[in-house]
């Protein structure tokens, strides 16, 4: 019994140390997934349905150092616009990304511009501007961390993140 108490006491002490001492430790955050900084809150539609909408949306891809919409990109946006029209309560953040080449700051501008190009097109297709916003992550969040043409092509993208 006494031993038990001692152990509890020591654990409590260790917890205090952990909370004070470790607060100073260099903390590595959890790996941020490619588009993990968005937050899906509870909405009018069920969480599962929201996820279904999310996975049905197509990612829009770009050429190197370019923010113009290729025919493939336009087709993807047309498809996404149709999906979004069926869920008028969802808001959309267009997350702009670049491949790792080039400089971080210029890529930030390029990612913003890619996101802006997609939002402009969605607006033209009838999605109200109030539902749409942009955020650029530049080259900071690659989906494929490899250093080759295949990886770069996947990383030059705009990801549409839906939330209520």
């Amino acid at each position: 019994m006494n031993n038990c108490r001692l152990i509890i006491y020591i654990s409590a002490l260790l917890t205090v140390f952990a909370l004070t001492g470790c607060a100073k430790k260099i903390v590595r955050p959890n790996e941020v997934p490619s588009a993990g900084l968005g937050m899906a809150g509870p909405g009018a539609i069920a969480e599962g349905e929201l996820q279904g909408v999310q996975t049905s949306l197509k990612t829009i891809y770009f050429d190197f150092d370019n923010y113009t919409l290729s025919p493939e990109a336009q087709a993807a946006i047309n498809y996404d616009a149709d999906v979004l029209k069926r869920y008028p309560n969802l808001t959309v953040v267009a997350e702009g990304h670049c491949d790792e080449r080039g400089t971080a700051e210029y890529n930030l501008a390029l990612g913003e511009r890619r996101a802006g190009a997609v939002v402009e097109r969605l607006t033209a297709l009838g999605i109200p501007g109030a539902r749409l916003s942009t955020v650029s992550f530049g080259s900071e969040l690659p989906v494929d961390p490899n250093h080759n043409e295949q990886a770069w092509a996947k990383n030059r993208r705009v990801y549409l993140r839906v939330s209520k």
Partner: protein, 440 residues
């Protein structure tokens, strides 16, 4: 002689805990004799054909054994002198032969070809160390510079760097940068901001935002940094005090609040905002209010860099189809494109001397650090191993920090503005170096 008091603020480790304020008392040990007008130790750093000055650095001497090692102290001097690109450090005889007055026998040393000699002696008293450091002119056979420093043992590197700053001032007429620091981003998923001595020592974590941080840039007073961070899930501009204790938002408009740079007077910040959907260069005050929009048109404009007189800003725009560097008067007017040689030129950084811009160019599929005059002439490529980016000038306007992947991982390197000496300084993977101003 009245000793002057110098306060050294040490960057706070991991952004928590009380700041340490260290005191170091410094006094001039020896009055320097009036110098003749010729023959003295002098390097004209603007001379394009400048050769390196051969110099000896003797192991520091101590009267009794202690926590500091005389050979390691001498290594700090050697490293400073080698990496600045102006000296050849030649081996000093061990031990130095002394004359009848206990001074180094400079006559014998002259045969080695060395033009100068650095010596040091030190003694430890409790947690303090006192160092006497001297620079001799071997050719003229005389003492040129002598200093005595007393401070905490933990500041021994700083004390040696202070003397090396004076050596460079003596020989080049511009104080050294050896007491300055370099901020950079850890090249991992988190990208927290770290600060280290220019030579990689005394690494401290400054931020603990646990999100993506970008583009650290020192305030001209050296008391803090601005940076872009996703703390609130948008690339906003923040300020962090150099001890990491205060983190405050500066600009958090919708869209980009990116690539913030303090004006030389510290009263304004140039940055890229996308409030009108296309990223453009704006000037805000330190409270974050927009003073003016500096650029227009359809290009993405980013990465502003102020001229040292605050009259011009260089920046990147892709208005002509590919990213190029332009210069525009802060008072308004037509931007002038200054890079014409390659198809991808970014990250301009104006030298504190005003004569050059360092920038990143894409050459043969890789990125290289280059320099160019603000009028677009004298384009020079300084690097060629691996990919090299993100140049940042030291306050002397001669040294440049940059990031290179030439050894595999990205590390912070420093080089002189001719690229003759290029050395890795960060012991950890890093990018986006920002060289500090001279720190008081």
């Amino acid at each position: 002689m009245k000793p002057s008091r110098l306060s050294i603020q040490s960057g706070n480790t991991r952004g928590t805990g009380a700041s340490k304020y260290l005191l170091c008392v410094l006094s001039l040990l020896i009055t320097v004799f009036p110098l003749p007008s010729f023959g003295k130790l002098l390097l004209d750093v603007d001379n394009p054909n400048l050769g390196k000055m051969p110099i000896m650095v003797a192991d520091f001497l101590s009267r009794q054994p202690g926590p500091l090692n005389g050979s390691e102290l001498a290594s700090i001097v050697k490293n400073d002198l080698i990496t600045c690109g102006l000296f050849d450090v030649v081996p000093a005889p061990q031990p130095l032969s002394l004359d009848q007055n206990g001074e180094p026998d400079l006559k014998t040393l002259a045969e080695s070809g060395a033009q100068a000699l650095v010596t040091g002696s030190f003694y430890v008293n409790g947690n303090q160390v006192t160092m006497e450091l001297k620079l001799y002119d071997i050719g003229l056979q005389r003492l040129d510079l002598g200093k005595r420093y007393t401070g905490f043992i933990s500041d021994h590197r700083y004390m040696v760097h202070m003397f090396d700053d004076r050596i460079l001032e003596k020989i080049t007429n511009t104080p050294g940068y050896f007491t300055t620091k370099i901020a950079f981003l850890e090249d991992t998923k988190t990208r927290e901001i770290f600060v280290m001595d220019y030579d990689g020592s005394n690494l401290h974590q400054i931020t603990n935002t646990r999100t993506i941080n970008l583009s650290p840039e020192w305030a001209p007073d050296g008391k803090g940094l601005i940076f872009t961070s996703y703390i609130n899930r948008n690339p906003d501009l923040w300020y962090v005090s150099a001890d990491g204790q205060r983190v405050i938002p500066v600009s958090h408009r919708k869209g980009l609040n990116a690539s913030g740079r303090f004006a030389p007077n510290g009263n304004f910040i140039a940055l890229s905002l996308s409030v009108k959907s296309i990223p453009k260069i704006f000037i805000i005050n330190t409270e974050g209010n927009i003073i003016k929009q500096l650029t227009n048109g359809l290009g993405n404009d980013i990465s502003p860099s102020w001229s040292p007189d605050g009259a011009y800003i260089a920046y990147v725009s892709d208005q002509a189809g590919s990213p190029q560097i332009y210069v525009v008067p802060v008072s308004g007017g037509e931007p002038k494109r200054i890079t014409l040689s390659t198809s991808y030129n970014t990250d301009p950084h104006w030298s504190p001397k005003g004569d050059m811009l360092a920038f990143t160019a894409k050459i043969d599929g890789r990125f290289q650090v280059c320099v160019i005059r603000p009028d677009g002439t004298d384009f020079k490529v300084l690097t060629n191993k691996g990919s090299n980016q993100d140049p940042s000038w030291a306050p002397d306007g001669r040294m440049i920090a940059f990031v290179s992947n030439r050894e595999g991982v990205k590390r912070i390197f420093v080089m002189d503005s001719k690229g003759t000496v290029q050395v890795a300084v960060s012991h950890v993977p890093g990018r986006s170096p920002a060289w500090s101003p001279r720190l008081k």
